[in-house]
Symmetry: D2
């Protein structure tokens, strides 16, 4: 037995026999389902599926697996991906002055509790260079100069491409990306917003939360789209606060929540558990 | 020893010696502090205090206690209240078609886990009449007729006054109160909103939440002001949901949260733990 | 199209082609998968599956559906059930003196947020008779007399059978069931324990929690087995408490958690989302 | 005005006039109360108080403040401490092989969201030496040799004393301290246990949790006493898990909770919010 495991992720229009055709195909190839989830959106009749399969026969190349599956997928009109379960997505992290999310990601990566390959850190400030160095990662200093934001973004995209990255994580990167970049990397940029969206969009959400007098603060990880803070939500969490907490204390309390929510979202993305469904997500996280 | 306990609740401008003067006064009267909290808002320099005192001497009438405290309070320019800890506030509950919050309140009241005296239920529908009857409470059917909303509201206020009520709880009462009524009963109306404010103000918040694709839904209990869903927040909670939950399921899941949040807010109000601080609240709930 | 929906729930030993054979079978019968989850326990190599299917053809009787599936199931050595999604399990509720869980269940049932048919209430006390009456349900008063506990339990089982019940819910029923009854109704009794198991088994868990000084209290819904408080856990939740909360306040705070946790567990059981896996459960609740 | 702020923390037997005498004393010294909490344990009649005071006059030395308060404290038979609010407790951190709690503490310390002075790290392994170096802190390698555990502990205590430390934090330090050391540093050692106590004491709690099939896992920060995992609890939190999570995944999920709970407990201890009350704590954290 090969111990080879693969993850299939797909969506297609609702039709009879999707699961049958897919599972027949893999049973014939001697693949065994060890975890699987399916969901049909009743509003759109779109069908979503994620399956983890184990090869009970001899190891097969990923290219062959994909080639053999293509006719099945074509018949059913699918959008699909097949991944080697051992392969980790390559992640580029963008950060500005606040390093708590970066720190939590890098530590989890080092502990092997975050199944990604971090390929580098980009920043418009130098403050996180030393931490990045300690983790043995390349640090790309890309300052934003007035009137040359487009150039900076072009360099960021070049770094992403040079590193052959699969995902860009905005770990408190305090720059708004252009609609063009959001389009180019659609579904491949995850941002952490430091509020429980849709509450407190935009700047200084902890100060907004303080002035509104909310009793819990939160954080939201979402895919980035051209609409600020409006992209499909992957994960959210909250924590209790009180009247006695200053905006600075809300900021401190919130840091832990931000880091935890962002790490979960990146983990689920890396495990191919997240499928985009218009402005929403399907997250097969159990 | 009398076992008499009282609750003092006050706010005043920041000045040296507030606690000393208040605690001296009560120590001289043989009252012992058994629980107390103080907080100063650094933005406004307003000072807030709640103290539970036990009388170690002979029982004294509440009128005498208040009269004796008045000079102290006047010297310090306080807004203050002193309550008999055994006295329960009289609560009038307003409801429309959805009875889950009403049911939870009445059951908690009957179990003596909600320290209030429910004095009646008002509704613009008859659907909750039978449950109200079962609890042995008067039910006031106040239908809203087109063009006569003002009359209906006047009758509601009359019911409140006739019952000598201290608090009006909107337990999923689907009518917007007039600014005049909000003013008349300022600080004495608590509403439950079925979202985690400030997200999803207004109508059908669970449908809004579904369409936005949030990963947690919530509920918010707040004092009612003339600004819809903008009053000072007393309590909030959330519960995890997923892509697989329909708007109806969000509604079902949310019911438990609404009922729990509303009961907590009413309990804390009834225990004189909540002090209004502009558009926010101070909640001494520990 | 018939709008007929069915739920298939199965477990079997790990083998290639389970999902393929099951989904082929139903695709051939013109059934469409609208929600499905599969999980293989790596410790035991047991495979678990729950699928919701929609009939795209003419309505078929449940007996025929089951008969047609039997050969497939036999081939694969399955334990399986097929349910009409519209059919609600019949539930008998047992309660003693504390009615908060009963109240929450009955209210949710009446609101149609709990997909069960409540067929009656049994109790060793009369205190919940009036509430049961109000809901239009039969109340069976089964007092426990010293030395005749076996008789009382036999009558309880008779009530269960006469009502053709599918599930017995112990909604704060303060009697320990005999091992024989636990066996007879294995997998068909759900209990709510008022602690976060495995902490605080046995009597007076809130007092135990108070004396240990925990900072959160909880509740646990589990299937009942002959080992007290050791049965497979279905759901748990907690709520924050503080040093200032007396045992009575813990009890009050805990009531909401108990009722919520029990309702969730019963709902998931009724939707055939819970599969027993030895001393644990598989809960397909997303 | 001096901007000088102090924190008074005290406990004494219940008696009339404690708050009056304390607040009189400080009002006479021109100190203004900006935050205060009091609580009386009804079981023991012990009274607990924490007050933050601001000096409205000229700055006074901490020695003078303490000396002036001593007669008041003596009259009332208090255990008490007065701290400069700006002074940060000196913390020595002990760690073994798992660095996630250490990492979170050091990052929070560096971000100034943890109000302590970390004075060094001790470990029975070298694995965390490099991270400690990066933070510019002394690393004390204290291996445990068979039969010489007492010597190692003596060296640990020497490091603590040489560093003039106020608190020892066991941030996943996998050694059991001797009763003698627990006594010597009573109330000055905080441990993080990776379960929701009292569930799963002792070794490998995530594996225990997996085998019991719990639906939430947790972490507990507590003061260390000679009774393993039985010391007074400061803080606890939980996170939802499912049947699909392996012991390794529970471990990964639990790491975030452990780090968050430990940081909160250390923060509250450092802000003098935690008072030990026998086997429990009073935590004035709002």
């Amino acid at each position: 037995m090969s111990n080879q495991q693969i993850i299939l992720k797909l969506s297609c229009h609702d039709q009879i026999g999707v699961v049958a055709k897919v599972s027949n195909h893999f049973a014939e190839q001697q693949f065994n389902i060890i975890e699987s989830s399916q969901f049909e959106d009743p509003d759109t009749s779109l069908f979503f599926m994620r399956t983890v399969l184990e090869n009970a026969g001899d190891e097969v190349s990923m290219d062959d697996i994909r080639e053999q599956f293509t006719p099945v997928a074509d018949t059913l009109g699918m959008r699909w991906q097949i991944h080697d379960r051992q392969a980790k997505p390559k992640v580029l992290i963008a950060v500005s002055n606040w390093g708590h999310c970066l720190n939590a990601m890098l530590n989890a990566w080092r502990n092997q509790s975050l199944p990604v390959d971090v390929v580098g850190v980009v920043s418009n400030h130098r403050i996180m260079e030393s931490m990045t160095d300690w983790y043995g990662l390349p640090f790309h200093y890309l300052p934003v100069e007035s009137g040359h934001k487009g150039d900076q973004e072009a360099r960021l995209l070049q770094v992403y491409r040079d590193a052959d990255a699969d995902l860009l994580v905005l770990a408190r990167y305090m720059q708004i990306l252009s609609p063009a970049l959001c389009d180019t990397l659609a579904g491949r940029i995850i941002n952490i917003h430091h509020s429980f969206l849709p509450g407190f969009v935009g700047a200084r959400p902890y100060h907004q939360a303080y002035h509104r007098g909310v009793k819990q603060i939160g954080a939201t990880a979402h895919y980035v789209t051209a609409d600020l803070d409006q992209g499909p939500i992957i994960e959210q969490a909250v924590e209790r606060v009180s009247h006695a907490n200053s905006p600075q204390e809300l900021t401190d309390i919130g840091r832990d929540i931000e880091a935890m929510v962002l790490n979960r979202a990146v983990k689920w993305h890396a495990e191919h558990r997240v499928l985009i469904n218009g402005v929403r997500t399907v997250v097969f996280n159990r």
